[in-house]
């Protein structure tokens, strides 16, 4: 997409504020985190650093490009690796999968993102695991963190313009390698600084804070935690609906209902007499039947170009 709508002043102000915030975090982070237990300290630090590294990598080009944005960037994958870091991949993948539901319809186009799934996946799963949250509750936590993450994206998109001018200067001298370096090297050093440190510090300093907060809530206002769980059932509708904006149109509309009813029939949640299959097979089975339906539909009807863009 070619639209870019962000005024230069807003960019500068945001970049300044973010830089100050991140600077403050880097300075204050270790102090904030000091009330953790001493013996656990080193382990926590290593885990936090690994999560920070994962978050950086998910936004970096190093994994065949696609392995970043289409791989580690997704909370499902991030959650799995955070689970590995914290010694429980099953729980991590479960939490990551739940958080990812919200971003199932995530599309980054024209240099804008509605939220940052990668920080929700890496930092959100790490905080949820450190605080022993269940997957449904973790969704709400992921939402909040994902919104904060857009600050980092915004900073990067603003500051990286500087390197484009470095590239111009190299090009003026006919320096081919210099132009290449302005694209792949310098921006990555900057990105590492603004993504690794905030994420690692947030995990290191935030684990106790989130844990304490949850503890306080369960003692004093348990209905808030129930609210998180209820939200965990409602928010996936947003992720699904965001994707439906692109595909729920024209002659494909009935297949949404077919998919729902098919899943309901094989899922059997509403029919006490029916033995439900393992829950993981519901979507997979529907996808197999859906692929067959798609094949037949395209063969019978041909293309429907007029319905693609509304």
């Amino acid at each position: 997409m070619t639209r870019v709508n962000a005024s230069p002043l807003a960019i500068r102000v945001t970049a300044l504020v973010t830089t100050l915030l991140l600077g403050a975090l880097i300075v204050a982070g270790p102090t904030l985190a000091q009330d953790g237990a001493e013996a656990e300290g080193t382990n926590d630090l290593i885990r936090a650093a690994l999560v920070g590294l994962g978050y950086y990598l998910s936004n970096s080009p190093w994994l065949f490009g696609n392995g970043g944005f289409f791989g580690l960037y997704r909370p499902l994958v991030a959650g799995f690796f955070v689970g590995v870091i914290f010694g429980d991949p099953v729980k991590g993948a479960e939490i990551g999968a739940s958080i990812n539901l919200l971003y199932i319809g995530f599309i980054s186009a024209g240099g804008s993102i509605p939220a940052d799934p990668s920080v929700a996946g890496w930092v959100g799963t790490a905080l949820a695991m450190a605080s022993n949250l269940d997957a449904a509750t973790a969704i709400t936590l992921g939402v909040a963190i994902g919104l904060l993450g857009t600050i980092i994206f915004f900073t990067r998109m603003s500051v990286d313009a500087v390197f484009a001018h470095w590239a111009d200067a190299r090009a003026e001298e006919g320096d081919i390698s210099g132009v290449a370096r302005a694209n792949w090297l310098w921006p990555q050093i900057f990105l590492f600084v603004i993504s690794f440190f905030p994420a690692a510090i947030a995990v290191y300093a935030g684990s106790n804070a989130v844990g304490d907060g949850i503890q306080w809530l369960s003692n004093n206002a348990p209905w808030v935690l129930r609210g998180f769980q209820i939200a965990g059932g409602l928010l996936p509708a947003i992720g699904i609906a965001l994707n439906m904006r692109f595909i729920f149109r024209g002659s494909a509309i009935p297949f949404y209902f077919v998919g729902y009813v098919f899943a309901m029939l094989i899922g059997g949640r509403f029919f006490p007499g029916v033995t439900a299959p393992a829950i993981g097979t519901i979507v997979v089975t529907t996808a197999i039947v859906g692929a067959a339906a798609a094949w037949i539909f395209v063969s019978v009807s041909g293309s429907r170009s007029s319905e693609r863009e509304a």
Partner: protein, 312 residues
Amino acid sequence: METMTPETRPAKKLERGDVQRAFWLWTFFSHANYNYERLQGTAFAQAMTPIIRKLYDSPDEIKAALKRHLVFFNTEPNVGGVIHGAVIAMEEQRANGADIDDDAINSVKAGLMGPLAGVGDSISQGTITPILLSIGIGIAAAGQPLGAILYLVLEVGIMLALAYFMWMQGYDRGREGVTTMLRSGLLDRVLTGAGVLGNMVMGALTFQFVTIYLTLSWNIDVGGGQTKLFDVNQDLLGAIMPGILPLAFTLFTWWLLARRRVSPLWLLVAYVIFAMLAAYPFFGPAGDFNYCQSLLNPFFQPGAGCPPPPAS
């Protein structure tokens, strides 16, 4: 044009390896310096470096080629690679004396990047990714971390294959071929099929993950001093269609987002607030909290009264 004779200027031929090197540079670094001013501009230039090295010798030509490809550029990186392929083919012809000026190359880039961003985002981010994610999430949420690995391998594999295919198509067919391919309707058929599959998977996902349980129930007098528990979730909604509430709620959300143009951010905030209200124990004291004192319930309890909360 007059310098095209082999004697004065030997034909400059790109090897397959040069085109592939450019492909890998783009695939790795297309978003390495993503920024508001040029978006993927510098990445395009970096991808062209092996081509420029091979085709141009004089400093002036190199300088001009670098500057030519440092301008604003933005498209979907995998499907959009067809543009790069076509541009490489044009650069090769130009270096061999064909009458292709900067404007011709710029107009191909600027003219194709918008449409291919639209088509490409629909394919990669709009259909392939959500479908594979749904499958991975469905498996991982059931306690099988394999779902995450399965998604990662399939997604990256498919994206790389798609990207390589499009890139080479662009180079082999050139700019006319790309236009022909875009008009052929092949992409439309792929998108139509993906839309059918995507809708079915979204339906299954709605069933599996959107959960709303009303906890409205009360005793009704059935005569003769007998009372019967009437559960709205089961006895009213369930009688119409089991699972109608999550389905209706998701369609309502789609309507708000797609038809009313409500911002997803506002909706997120509104839903979290709604969930809090729905969890607040309006129907009973907050002190000894049990599961029938609020409007909604995170767990399925078909007409079973109000059991105490499960131990977490």
